[in-house]
């Protein structure tokens, strides 16, 4: 296989060999977000601490859920696709409170 070329193998190539893609940071930099002041998703980390699977961590396409050292979940709402994956895969009642961002805010797709 050829070495990394173009932007897909560009500035911050991720480990995993040639052409695996760009870093997650660069990937998300291609998306426009109009970040509002209000967090539209609230995670109850107390509930997360009792969760053994924490499937939101890998399933979220925007990679917004990070496990914390005390077994909880840290969540960033700013670069959210507003897809709904997190609350649908979450198997713990009440862990994720999910609404849309305020009008005009949040993700803006131009090539959707």
């Amino acid at each position: 296989m050829s070495p990394p070329t173009g932007a897909l193998g560009g500035a911050n190539p991720v480990p995993g060999g040639p052409w695996r893609g760009i870093s997650f940071e660069d990937r998300m930099a291609t998306v426009e977000f109009r970040v509002g002041a209000r967090a539209h998703i609230v995670v109850d980390s107390d509930v997360c601490r009792s969760c053994t699977t924490q499937v939101c961590v890998t399933a979220c396409p925007a990679n917004l859920f990070a496990p914390t050292s005390d077994g909880g979940i840290l969540f960033n709402y700013e670069e959210c696709f507003e897809c709904g994956t997190c609350y649908m895969v979450c198997n713990h009642e009440g862990a994720i409170a999910w609404t849309y961002p305020d009008g005009g805010q949040g993700v803006v797709f131009h090539h959707g």
């Binding site: 296989m1 050829s2 070329t5 173009g6 932007a7 897909l8 560009g10 995993g16 052409w19 695996r20 893609g21 760009i22 997650f24 660069d26 990937r27 998300m28 291609t30 998306v31 109009r34 699977t53 499937v55 890998t58 399933a59 396409p61 925007a62 990679n63 696709f81 507003e82 897809c83 709904g84 994956t85 609350y87 649908m88 895969v89 609404t99 849309y100 961002p101 305020d102 009008g103 005009g104 949040g106 993700v107 803006v108 797709f109 131009h110 090539h111 959707g112």
Partner: protein, 442 residues
């Protein structure tokens, strides 16, 4: 905002449509053309800004929107070539169809970008007289003194919008359908996650690599490229970009603990796909949920003072060979608009007065196709189809066409038996699946 205020029981608008996607704009268009007052509420800064799709709009449903729509619709390319690819990590077998007829009016399918297409649809509704309000979230339903749905509350100041009928076209997560009690709790198993990369390449490079001329385009659907997670892959050519993505069963994705973008990277690196995309640059990454439960997983679509259409009603058709959604959204939106017009004329916007919506959908492609293909999602996402047949077919073809001189050729049945055995499939299971497929698709 136009027409805030009003008390329960004194509607301001004939209808408030929530969501300016294809379903909502079609509903607003039909209502405005019928002379009804309609406000179309969109939470994004412009129509389409929250929307992502797999790639092809089948346009014949637009005949009802505007005659000779193909002369003005914001098309990227007309799909003249459609390929279904079954693959393993190193092999692929394609069934490739190409038609000159699909490159001529009225065409079959087109690639487009939702920011442009949805904005075009919404502009048609506005031209007809609908009031479009963007950057506004419909947060809750309003109810009159009798508890009947009578509008929506928005996140604007004094943002109550009272209406005779609410049309919930608020997408796959439809909070309004849930609030109205029309949709049971969202089932992960009825949803897939679509993740997509839009990759930039010069137009002439796309033409050369995919064998296209002018505004011709290609649509490639893939099976067997998702590490056993039920779903599939897709590749569509736009004018100067290529859309590449995967669609993944939500519960299985969660269970596999694989990151979605890893699976797109697999696809981008696949020996059958990588040469098409060499040196492409990432223009935009996106993700969206898809309602794939089909006919049997749809919510109740009609209640007193409210209808549900488009993805909010689970109308994406994900039936293996057929992958459609935007046309179903438009078809359902137009039907919703017509039903509301009739209900208002008859002075009855209760569930009974609006019931012609469901009957209309059953009588045309929207629910007729879904009903006919109601068992397809189960078959398409089943274990053998997803995890065994792609590899089996690849090995079968490899066995047929690998020349093993001086060993003589094996017969077709022996090659099939050996490929089936390698993938743990019995011939009687293949026969049973073929019968099942014939029953579902026949």
């Amino acid at each position: 905002m136009t027409g805030p205020g009003g008390a329960p029981g004194s509607p301001v608008f004939d209808a408030v449509v929530v969501g300016a996607g294809p379903a909502g704009s079609a509903a607003a268009l039909a209502l405005a053309r019928a002379g009804r007052s309609v406000v179309l509420v969109e939470r994004g800064p412009f129509p389409g800004s929250k929307n992502v799709y797999g790639g092809v709009v089948y346009g014949r449903v637009l005949d009802e929107v505007v005659p000779e729509w193909w002369k003005q619709v914001p098309v990227e390319r007309w799909v003249v070539r459609r390929s279904t690819m079954m693959m393993t990590g190193t092999q692929s077998v394609s069934v490739d169809y190409r038609s000159a007829a699909w490159g001529q009016a009225p065409y079959n399918g087109m690639t487009t970008l939702r920011s442009r297409f949805d904005s075009w649809m919404a502009a048609k509704a506005v031209e007809a007289g609908a009031v479009l309000v963007t950057s506004t979230v419909a947060t809750h339903l309003l109810r009159d003194a009798g508890g009947r749905i009578a509008g929506v509350r928005t996140d604007r100041e004094q943002g109550e919008l009272w209406a005779r009928v609410v049309v919930a076209c608020d997408g796959v997560n439809s909070f309004l359908a849930k609030e109205a009690g029309l949709m049971p709790v969202a089932e992960a198993s009825h949803h897939t996650l679509g993740v997509k990369e839009v990759l930039e390449l010069p137009r002439h490079i796309i033409d050369e690599r995919f064998g296209l001329r002018g505004d011709e385009g290609v649509d490639i659907e893939m099976l067997g490229c998702t590490r056993g997670i039920p779903g599939g892959g897709f590749l569509y050519t736009n004018a100067d970009t290529v859309s590449l993505g995967v669609v993944l069963s939500l519960p299985h994705l969660a269970e596999a603990k694989v990151r979605p973008e890893e699976l797109i990277a697999d696809l981008r690196n696949h020996p059958s796909i990588a040469p098409y995309l060499r040196d492409a640059t990432l223009r935009e990454y996106s993700a969206h949920l898809i309602p794939e439960g089909g006919y049997d997983a749809m919510p109740v679509m009609v209640t007193d003072g409210m209808l549900v259409a488009g993805d909010a009603a689970g109308m994406t058709l994900a039936a293996g060979l057929w992958l459609e959604g935007v046309n179903f959204a438009i078809g359902s939106g137009l039907a919703a608009g017509r039903a509301i017009d009739r209900a208002i004329a008859a002075g009855d916007c209760s569930a009974r007065g609006l019931a012609s919506y469901r009957a209309d959908l059953e009588g045309q492609f929207v629910l007729a196709d879904h009903k006919r293909l109601r068992k397809a999602p189960g078959l398409v996402l089943s274990e053998r189809i997803q995890q065994r047949y792609p590899g089996l077919v690849c090995d079968l073809v490899e066995g047929m066409f690998t020349v093993t001189n001086p060993t003589p050729k094996r017969g077709g049945l022996r090659v099939t038996r050996s490929a089936a055995a390698k993938h743990g499939v019995k011939l009687r299971q293949m026969a049973a699946d073929a019968t099942r497929a014939a029953r579902i698709f026949g």
